[in-house]
Every structure is written in structure tokens, then in C-alpha cells.
């Protein structure tokens, strides 16, 4: 594998961060409506995994989908517009924050509901002989949903080339994982004969090669795999519902910020140039979305 492009990775991480910060900052202004679930703190997961996908690979995402969508290459203006309920949004204003589809990317807001769809999509690509893989992002909360285990069973039985990425941010809405999860996460996959790798890091350079190995393995030997990423969510579950002590979140931010970790690898001037460029891009996308018309009510 060629040496990672640290500047490009930083740009990808920072793009997600600025998008999500803008969403939280602007919610109070009334330009957004409804709900949102931001990805702040978890950016290295999406960037580390989705750096390896090819055209035609399929991605399923969940309620916390903005980071996955942006790492997939999704358009910022279209995503802002969707969150604003604009006609020009990714889903024409019908879906909102959690329900977006573009090219081979699909998200849904029902936890676990995407896990069989991802197995089915992976099976379809295998039957069609396209060589495309499917990546399905889930969180620790979804480990409580029964349909996940039906999906793992069928994916394993039928050799569906799907990579289940568990982003364990250790909290489901307000419930800490200790109150919601018994037993082991990797053992859940291993019980179905699905090889699982596990990382406890927010460093994109640690996630990147492991995800790359798994995906290369899947291309050579199609079948399901799991990647368990222990991560940190810095923001609230949605908008104002963080019940964790502030000092805990501050400690996570100090120790586990994927941007801080990766920024140390860039020269200050290089980093500032990327940040300035991304800030301008996000600001322009936000303004363009804001200027768009609302949809006709009956569309």
C-alpha cells in the first residue's frame, strides 16, 4: 500500500468536523429543522474505512450518517439543503438528516434495519459478479437489535461480502454501554464465523491500514468481515441531550481528537491552508443551500 497522503486525510477529517460544527452552530438560528446526530469525534472511522472503497462499492449508514456521506464523497451543499428541508437536498427534503441516498450510499434511521439490507446488497453484487463490496456502519446501540444477528447469520451462510463496521462510542443516546451490553463485541461476530478486527483508537493512520487489509481480504475471498472501532462521540446524541459530565467529554477531546492527533503530522502552514480552504468550502456550501427554495408542499 502506498504511503498515506496526510494532507488529504486531514482535509477529509476537517471537512466532516466543520460541516458538523456548522450544523450545531446554526441549529439555533432556525435554518435547520427536525433532528440531527453529529459525528464529531468519530471522523477517523469514516475516513479510515471509506478511503478504501471503489466506484460501485455500496455503503449503508445509520442515523449518524453525515460523516459517512461526506467521506463517501457526498456533496456538502446537498446535505446542508437536506437538513434545511430544501428541494435541492440529497433526498429532495423528504428524508432529512437520517435518510439519504446518493449513488451507492444509503442511510436509514431505524437501528439495525440496514444490516440485512447490506447483506442483501452484498449478495446481489456477488451474484451479479461485479466484485463490489458493501460496507455497513452500525453503532454500539445497534448491538441490541435482534435483526443484526439474523443478518450476520445469513451473511455468513451465503458468503455475502459485507464489512460491518461497529463504531462503539460507548453510549447509546444517554445510556452508557455498561448498562446496555452484555458480553463481548468481537465474540458476537466470531460466533457466526465472521472474522473481526478490533481497534481502540482515534488515529486515522491506525484505522486506515487495518481497514485496508480487511477490504483487500474481502476482495480476494468474498465473505463477511467485522471491524470494531472503539471511538468517542464529543457532541450530544442529537442536539442538547448530553448527560455525560462535562469533564469526561473534555478529557476525551483532549486525548482522543482525531484532528489533533493527525494535525501533528502536518506543518502548521500546511494545516492552516487546508483549514482555510475547507472553512471557505463549508461556508459557501451552507450559503448556497440557504439560498435555495423550499419544495412545493405536495412533492
Amino acid at each position: 500500500m502506498s504511503a498515506p497522503d496526510n494532507a488529504a486525510l486531514y482535509r477529509a477529517l476537517y471537512l466532516i468536523r466543520r460541516f458538523e460544527e456548522t450544523v450545531l452552530e446554526e441549529f439555533a438560528s432556525g435554518v435547520f429543522y427536525g433532528t440531527t446526530h453529529t459525528y464529531i469525534g468519530e471522523e477517523a472511522d469514516a475516513v479510515g474505512v471509506l478511503s478504501h472503497i471503489r466506484d460501485g462499492d455500496v455503503v449503508f449508514s445509520n442515523h449518524r450518517c453525515h460523516g459517512h456521506f461526506i467521506a463517501y464523497g457526498g456533496d456538502l451543499r446537498a446535505l446542508f439543503a437536506e437538513l434545511m428541508g430544501k428541494a435541492g437536498g440529497v433526498s429532495g427534503g423528504r428524508g432529512g438528516s437520517q435518510h439519504i441516498h446518493w449513488k451507492d450510499f444509503y442511510s436509514n434511521g431505524i437501528l439495525g434495519s440496514t444490516t440485512p439490507a447490506a447483506a442483501g446488497a452484498a449478495l446481489a453484487e456477488k451474484l451479479k459478479g461485479t466484485g463490489a463490496l458493501t460496507v455497513c456502519f452500525i453503532g454500539d446501540g445497534t448491538l441490541g437489535e435482534g435483526v443484526l444477528y439474523e443478518s450476520l447469520n445469513m451473511a455468513a451462510l451465503w458468503g455475502a461480502p459485507v464489512l460491518y463496521v461497529v463504531e462503539n462510542n460507548r453510549i447509546a443516546q444517554t445510556t452508557p454501554i455498561e448498562l446496555a451490553l452484555a458480553g463481548s463485541i468481537p465474540a458476537r461476530f466470531e460466533a457466526f464465523g465472521i472474522p473481526a478486527r478490533e481497534l481502540d483508537t482515534s488515529d486515522v493512520l491506525e484505522i486506515l491500514p487495518v481497514a485496508g487489509d480487511l477490504i483487500a481480504e474481502m476482495r480476494a475471498d468474498p465473505g463477511p468481515r467485522a471491524l470494531i472501532l472503539h471511538t468517542c462521540r464529543f457532541g450530544p446524541h442529537s442536539k442538547g441531550d448530553d448527560t455525560r459530565p462535562a469533564e469526561l467529554v473534555e478529557k476525551m477531546r483532549a486525548e482522543r481528537d482525531p484532528l489533533t492527533i493527525h494535525a501533528a503530522r502536518l506543518k502548521k502552514t500546511e494545516r492552516t491552508a487546508i483549514e482555510d480552504e475547507v472553512n471557505a468550502e463549508v461556508t459557501a456550501a451552507f450559503a448556497a443551500a440557504k439560498a435555495e427554495p423550499m419544495p412545493e408542499p405536495m412533492n
Binding site: G89, R94, H101, A121, V147, M154
Partner: protein, 341 residues
């Protein structure tokens, strides 16, 4: 005369032969067993790579089918008993019927979930129900139900090959062994198949041959339509009440031309509507039929009623089950009573 079971089996084989994107997933569907009710028999032998016998995982199966359909294949899922459909209900409500709309649409989700429904076989409370009413109000879901008329297999093949999906295809268990009847097999009736605008799913009308114009309209579907047909014969021969029977094969409502083109014009002539179904009485298909008729006709609708199952679970014991489910004599009695109005 082929049975409904033969016809549905033939429909599946035709769909498989016509389009190699068609797949079948379900429990116990491999030959020689060929499925609990034998509808898919022979497919696994002829198309071993396109038939996936599955674990007992209804929700997962529905979801996998969604993924297959999103990626351009045409899966058919067999749910062994209609009662088990609730295990897949979240997938139907929040994924399969949402994909085509919530992303800005249109996006095809060409999949068919087929399932046997209904009682009269002593299977008890969890293997005898008629629960499609819970799915009739789901936006974006086509619900089809063959009767023992016309070509049930063609309806199934059309649903698989022509519908952008998703489709719930409800097969009453007692229909399976009924012969499929055409006009030649029903000398006592004038049978007409109606093609409705923009719809591949036909509707049928049955009138007593050589009788005066009907004074009562019976509306029913599936096996209940077979009971309604037999009741119409009794009404004619024993009570001199001439009813017509209208039978849709599309039982979900939005854009349903059955009402505008067939039922409402019929009711303008008869003014009396008796809707017959095997599901429990409250809030079901018949309730919606009556509501639509009342909205369309107002005081022109002189009388309206329902014959349906009791609002209880289905008992296993034969006499108790018989009492809980609508019978021909219930339809006759309700019709005779209605004629006094």
C-alpha cells in the same frame, strides 16, 4: 382443472424462466419438500443457484430482499405462515416501503413477499390468522390477493416481473386446492374479468346467469370471495335475491380503480353493499370499502354491512373455529336481512 396451487407454482416457474434476476428466498423451500404449502416446488431443482433456503429469520429475510432489490435483482420471499409476517413488519414499514420514496424517489424496490393466510384448518391462534389489514394502510405497499378465478399464477408473475414493488402477495390457504375457475366452469354465473386502468391486477364480477338485474352487491377477495360466490348461488335459488359479486385482486387502497370503475358504479344500481372478508371485523378491508362507498354515494347507499371474523383470536377446535370465521350461511343471513332495508 388446475388448482390455485398449480397456477401459483406455474406463475413462479414462468417468472424464473422469463427473468434470470428473479430469486426465491424462504424457509424449507428446497425440493423434494418444496415449501410448507408446495407453492415453490420444483424451483430449487431447476434453478439451484437462484433459490436460497433460509434460516428461520423473517425480519432478516425481508431486509435481505430489500438489499437485493435495491441492487437490481428481483427477489421473492416466502413467509411460511402469514402470521409470521409481523416479524418482518418493521422491514416492510420502515425500509422496503420507504426506500422508493424517502430518498426523493422514485427508486424501484422490485420484491414480492408471498405468504399463506387464513384459517379453517385447525392450526390455532398463531397459524390461522388473516392479518393483511395491518399492512393495507402502509403507503407504498401494494397488497395483492388472488382468488380462485382467472389466472392467479399470472397475477403472481406480473407482480414479480412488472411491479416496481414492493408487493405483499396474500394467498389464502384454502384457495390452494380450489380449482381455478373460468367462465366455462361456472355455468350458473356470468363471469367477467375487468382490466382496470393502469393496473395489471384484474378484478372480477360474477352475476347469476339469466337473472334480473342485481339488487345487492357483494364485495370480497381471496377465499372469502369463493364463499361469497357460493352464497350468491344460495341467495338466488333459495331466496330469490340476485346479488353480483365483485372481486378485486388488488386489495390495498391508494389509486385503486376497483372502487371508481367497478364498485361505485355497481352500487349506483343496487344501492346495497355487503363486504365479506376473513379478517377480524374492526378496522379492516371491509370497513374501508364501506367508508369509501358511503363517501362516494351518501344517501344513494341504502344499506351497507360487513361479514367478517369474530374479534377474537382463532380457536383451534373445529366447532369453535367454525363459529369464529365467516361462513356461507352468515353471508346469506346478512344479505337477506339487508334486503329488508
Amino acid at each position: 382443472m388446475p388448482t390455485v396451487l398449480d397456477s401459483l407454482n406455474d406463475g413462479l416457474h414462468r417468472a424464473f424462466a422469463e427473468d434470470e434476476r428473479v430469486l426465491l428466498l424462504g424457509e424449507d423451500i428446497l425440493d423434494p419438500y418444496g415449501g410448507a404449502f408446495k407453492v415453490p416446488r420444483g424451483l430449487a431443482t431447476r434453478y439451484p443457484d437462484r433459490v436460497f433456503t433460509s434460516p428461520v429469520s423473517e425480519a432478516g429475510l425481508a431486509g435481505v430482499a430489500g438489499g437485493l432489490a435495491l441492487r437490481g435483482l428481483k427477489p421473492v420471499v416466502e413467509i411460511m405462515f402469514g402470521d409470521f409476517l409481523m416479524l418482518a413488519a418493521d422491514q416492510i414499514l420502515n425500509s422496503l416501503t420507504k426506500f422508493g420514496w424517502m430518498y426523493g424517489g422514485p427508486l424501484d424496490v422490485p420484491l414480492v413477499i408471498r405468504t399463506p393466510m387464513g384459517g379453517r384448518r385447525g392450526y390455532g391462534p398463531t397459524h390461522s390468522q388473516t392479518i393483511e389489514k395491518h399492512f393495507l394502510g402502509v403507503p407504498g405497499l401494494a397488497v395483492l390477493a388472488p382468488a380462485a378465478l382467472g389466472d392467479p399464477g399470472a397475477l403472481l408473475a406480473d407482480a414479480i416481473l412488472r411491479d416496481p414493488g414492493p408487493v405483499l402477495f396474500v394467498e389464502n390457504k384454502l384457495l390452494y386446492l380450489e380449482p381455478v375457475r373460468g367462465a366455462a366452469h361456472l355455468p350458473e354465473f356470468e363471469l367477467e374479468a375487468h382490466t382496470l386502468p393502469g393496473d395489471y391486477a384484474p378484478a372480477y364480477s360474477l352475476r347469476i346467469a339469466g337473472a334480473p338485474p342485481p339488487t345487492l352487491t357483494l364485495a370480497s377477495y381471496g377465499y372469502a370471495a369463493e364463499l361469497a360466490r357460493r352464497a350468491a348461488l344460495q341467495l338466488a335459488y333459495e331466496h330469490e335475491v340476485f346479488a353480483e359479486v365483485l372481486v378485486p385482486t388488488r386489495i390495498s387502497f391508494p389509486g385503486n380503480a376497483f372502487f371508481d370503475d367497478l364498485l361505485i358504479p355497481a352500487l349506483r344500481q343496487t344501492g346495497r353493499l355487503l363486504a365479506v372478508e376473513e379478517g377480524t371485523r374492526p378496522l379492516g378491508w371491509a370497513a374501508e370499502v364501506l367508508a369509501r362507498a358511503a363517501e362516494a354515494l351518501g344517501p344513494q347507499l341504502r344499506a351497507a354491512g360487513r361479514v367478517a371474523a369474530a374479534d377474537t383470536p382463532i380457536p383451534a377446535s373445529t366447532p369453535m373455529e367454525r363459529a369464529a370465521l365467516p361462513q356461507i350461511e352468515d353471508i346469506v343471513a346478512a344479505a337477506v336481512k339487508m334486503m329488508r332495508l
